[in-house]
């Protein structure tokens, strides 16, 4: 058969070794409780359980370009329910991070949002509620940016009404240099090192 999958343990070994929390996958017994409890299951191409099966089978391409690994919203439903105590959420983030590092962009919007979010936190020590959406919305061009802004207008007005969004630019927090040092250090602690 042509399209028969060849089991290849090298990708599993790579994940165990290089992906943050990747070695936790070893303990998966494929019960599927993670998939069953995931609120985003219907938007995923492969549920977490199947991602783990694909890793074992050695399907590198499918795993690292799967949008599932970037859909996780950190709701912890799977972590709470996993009978094998696997931090499924951490594994998914680890895989997303690793995919980006390996040059895969499974979900452009998410990747872009993550990058902007990180940059802003790194620079200011906080999020600027108007600057972050602006950067994300206009990443796809001017017209798309205007459209997205109009879509979110109601929320924006409400945020301003409740003084959650200031008109002036946010200032840096005190001691942002120290924060940056901490973040640099933390990045170095991960298995994969700093993402691009």
């Amino acid at each position: 058969m042509e399209n028969m999958v060849n089991y290849n343990p090298s990708f599993a070994e790579e994940v165990f070794r290089d992906v943050d929390s990747g070695d936790e996958i070893k303990m998966c017994m494929n019960c599927g409780v993670c998939a069953g409890s995931c609120p985003l299951r219907e938007h995923m191409d492969y549920p977490p359980r199947q991602i783990f099966s694909l890793i074992r089978a050695g399907k590198r391409e499918e795993v690292l370009s799967s949008k599932s690994i970037m859909l996780c919203t950190s709701c912890y439903a799977c972590v709470v329910k996993c009978p094998r105590d696997i931090p499924v959420m951490d594994v998914m983030h680890g895989l997303g991070h690793y995919a980006l590092k390996q040059g895969y962009v499974p979900r452009k919007d998410t990747a872009n949002f993550g990058k902007e979010f990180w940059n802003q936190v790194y620079k200011l020590g906080r999020i600027d509620e108007k600057d972050l959406p602006r950067r994300v919305f206009f990443a796809g061009g001017f017209i798309a940016g205007i459209k997205a802004m109009l879509n979110f207008m109601d929320i924006g007005l409400k945020l301003m009404l409740h003084r959650r969004m200031k008109l002036l630019p946010e200032r840096k927090i005190k001691g942002v240099k120290s924060l940056q040092k901490m973040l640099d250090k933390a990045e170095g602690l991960g298995k994969g090192g700093a993402a691009a």
Binding site: M4, K26, M27, A57
Partner: protein, 743 residues
């Protein structure tokens, strides 16, 4: 014995509020000679019990009828010793709690219950324990010297009893002796099998007598009185024992039948037993060229859970493969183990070792092997990966281990059946075929019993001994013969040890109870036993055929030869006997007949039907009591008569009832079939079979066959019992009153 009978009616627990006690005393006892009738508001209190004791001592009362709660409660309170017959009448669960108070029908029910009890007490004799002429032995014979057998022998000795251990090989140890390591409690790491230590402990134990290179040629007699002929190294020996434990263990499923998995075709496809032997001998290598092993694939359920091979799960092979994967990793840390499984079944705490195997990086693939082949000197497996939903290929394999299941090592009494392959010639109508003992399995006979019903233990469909799996796991269908270890069911070492200890204790219990003339189980402590009036025996063989426990042997003229110590006191022989010549001191055809006759049947124009319910006292009666405790209501026209086992139901009772004008008969017994719940294995099934012949009797009496109904109930079915009764009453109403009323 001259009976002096006293009735004590308790008026507590709502009985006094529901009934007219004075009327009950008068009406309920008028047909019987009763010396004393008293009532008390709280009979199970010290004051009430003292009242009875005073009468026993002062008045010489020796038969006490207690009309109060169910006999299933307060049996310890109302125990007045061996010399006093105690008869319980249920006025609480079956009357006061389940019927409307102060109604005519309720009162009539209570009166009938009291009459039934009086009649039963009248027909009950004091039991005298059976005592054999020969001396009883309390030694235990253990057949099989593997882990289970050795543990049984040691435990027996530790408890102070002599054990005789018979092993067919020239040394003890069995499969345990062939293992490199075992996984046992607490299931974290591999551990030493410890076979040498066990063998040494046995050799040093003076209370264990070991016969190696020996087989059991014949076991004759009965519990407490067995004579065992042993052939040891060609010489004969004879031992007297009280009980037997069969621990003959298992053999691996014949891998030669697993050609589709490459066994026999490729040298590097081996079974888990061969793998274990190779590991125990030293290094794991490729059998084809002796080279090192890097990639190993374990095929789980090789032949197991496959209707054409072994239809069941052996529950130990998953753990064995994980153990052997650990061997491979210990030998070469770079090695890759794949485990191709249907379901990982590491039962109970063994799950911990599954976790360890996963942590070690073994790769578990859920799916079934479709093709095993060779390419470039290495093996490959194609499998349907259930989780990926695709056909996958695992290449570059050095070794494939088939995790074959366990087959009972001894010859079963009936050949197990499996699904016949499409091209099989000897398939029966259901597409099944027998696995013949000559196919290399079950080849050895283990016990060679001198029983009329056959030389080995009766088996279930896969060749394992029949036992009541939940309630009495070690007991087989031969009283005094227990099974332990993998002959009972496939299991791993920790369970085999548990099993062995349990079986040893049961065997000791049996020798002690037998010596006192008591039944072992489930009627533990029962002193009655069946007695046969041989003068009227017609040699019909029904008792010798139907006893589920093989109590009777037969002589050349087909006369039944009873062995009372084999008996479990169920009364199935009593129900089987067409001449009605088998009876117990406190349970007989005549007694139940009289109990039915004591029921007052109202005239037809009173429009009060009467139904007799013969109810199994093991499961159905507790369920009925439970329904009473839950204050459920049912028809007041039903009279319950408890049976030791529904199998003791004699058809004459049905004819008797019908001819007396009873409108219907309801039989409540245990579930039967493959997952039977009958405490006596065959009782309820036999009752239903006999009942199928009752239509002849009904035809003869020109009655409708709907008047007799058999219903299976479980002990948890209390909520269904009122429904069953009321539905039956509707049927009875439909068919109308029994025309024999008033005759």
């Amino acid at each position: 014995m001259d009976k002096k009978t006293a009735i004590y009616i308790c008026t507590g627990c709502g009985i006094g509020d529901a009934l007219d006690i004075e009327q009950l005393k008068e009406e309920g006892t008028e047909d019987f000679s009763i010396d004393l009738t008293k009532d008390h508001p709280f009979l199970c209190a010290q004051e009430g019990v003292d009242l009875i004791k005073q009468d026993i001592e002062g008045e010489g009362v020796n038969t006490v009828i207690i009309a109060a709660c169910s006999y299933r409660v307060n049996y310890d309170v109302f125990n007045f010793g061996q010399g006093v017959i105690v008869q319980r009448v249920n006025l609480r669960e079956q009357v006061a709690w389940s019927q409307p108070p102060k109604e005519e029908d309720t009162q009539m029910l209570a009166e009938d219950n009291l009459r039934i009890g009086c009649s039963q007490a009248k027909n009950t004799e004091l039991t005298e324990p059976f005592k054999a002429e020969e001396e009883y032995s309390k030694d235990i014979l253990v057949v099989g010297g593997g882990l289970a057998g050795m543990t049984v022998a040691l435990e027996t000795a530790k408890a102070g009893y002599q054990a005789i251990l018979v092993e067919k090989e020239d040394k003890l140890g069995g499969f345990l002796g062939k293992m490199k390591s075992t996984i046992t409690m607490p299931y974290k790491e591999l551990s030493d099998p410890g076979a040498e230590d066990l063998i040494k402990a046995i050799e040093e134990e003076p209370k264990v007598k070991v016969y190696t290179s020996s087989t059991v040629e014949k076991i004759s007699g009965a519990p407490g009185l067995y004579t065992v002929d042993i052939k040891s190294n060609g010489n004969g020996a004879s031992e007297r024992v009280g009980a037997v434990v069969q621990a003959t263990g298992w053999v691996p499923y014949d891998a030669n039948k697993l050609g589709h998995l490459g066994y026999g075709k490729f040298k590097d496809v081996i079974t888990n037993v061969e793998m274990e032997e190779m590991a125990a001998a030293g290094k794991i290598t490729r059998p084809s060229d002796g080279s090192d092993v890097k990639n190993v694939l374990f095929i789980q359920c090789a032949g197991s859970r496959d209707p054409e091979h072994l239809p069941y799960c052996s529950s130990a092979c998953c753990l064995v493969s994980m153990k052997q994967a650990t061997y491979v990793k210990e030998q070469n840390a770079e090695a890759v183990n794949y485990v191709l499984y249907k379901d990982v079944r590491t039962v109970g705490q063994a799950e911990d070792f599954y976790r360890k195997a996963q942590e070690d990086g073994n790769i578990f693939i859920r799916g079934e092997a479709a093709n095993v082949g060779e390419a470039g000197g290495k093996l490959f497996v194609e499998a349907d990966d259930e989780l990926l939903g695709e056909r996958v290929k695992i290449e570059d394999l050095d070794l494939i281990v088939l995790a074959v299941g366990m087959v009972p090592a001894s010859k079963p009494e009936t050949a197990p059946k499996i699904k016949a392959p499409a091209d099989a010639e000897d398939a029966d109508e259901d597409g099944m075929m027998e696995v013949m003992p000559d196919s290399g399995f079950f080849a050895n006979s283990a016990l060679n019993l001198e029983y009329r019903q056959g030389p080995e233990l009766p088996t279930l469909k896969y060749g394992f001994p029949d036992s009541h799996f939940i309630c009495f796991p070690y007991e087989t269908r031969r009283t005094g013969i227990y099974s332990a270890g993998c002959i009972r069911r496939p299991m791993e070492t920790a369970k085999a040890i548990d099993d062995a200890v349990g079986a040893a204790m049961k065997a000791i219990q049996c020798t002690e109870a037998t010596a006192e003339g008591k039944a072992v189980h489930p009627r533990a402590g029962d002193l009655s036993y069946p007695e046969i009036d041989m003068k009227r025996c017609t040699q019909c063989k029904r008792c010798t055929e139907e006893c589920p426990f093989g109590m009777f042997n037969e002589d050349e003229e087909a006369n039944p030869l009873p062995n009372p110590t084999r008996c479990r006191r169920c009364g199935i022989c009593m129900g089987a006997c067409p001449e009605r010549i088998i009876s117990f001191k406190n349970y007989s055809v005549g007694m139940i007949g009289n109990m039915i006759k004591s029921i007052h049947v109202p005239e037809e124009d009173e429009e009060k039907p009467r139904v007799v319910c013969l109810i199994c006292e093991n499961d159905a009666l507790p369920a009925l009591d439970m329904a009473g405790i839950k204050r459920m209501k049912w028809s007041p026209y039903v009279r319950f008569i408890p049976m030791r086992c529904l199998g003791s139901m004699n058809l004459v009772w049905i004819a008797d009832s019908m001819s007396r004008g009873i409108d219907g008969i309801l039989l409540l017994g245990c579930r039967h079939g493959d997952d039977y719940q009958c405490h006596f294995v065959k009782g309820s099934e036999l009752a239903e079979t006999r009942l199928s012949k009752v239509s002849e009797t009904l035809d003869r009496l020109a009655l409708e066959s709907e008047r007799v109904k058999f219903v299976e109930v479980g002990i948890t079915d209390y909520d269904k019992i009122p429904v069953i009764i009321n539905e039956f009453m509707e049927t009875i109403e439909k068919v109308g009153p029994n025309p024999y009323k008033g005759w």
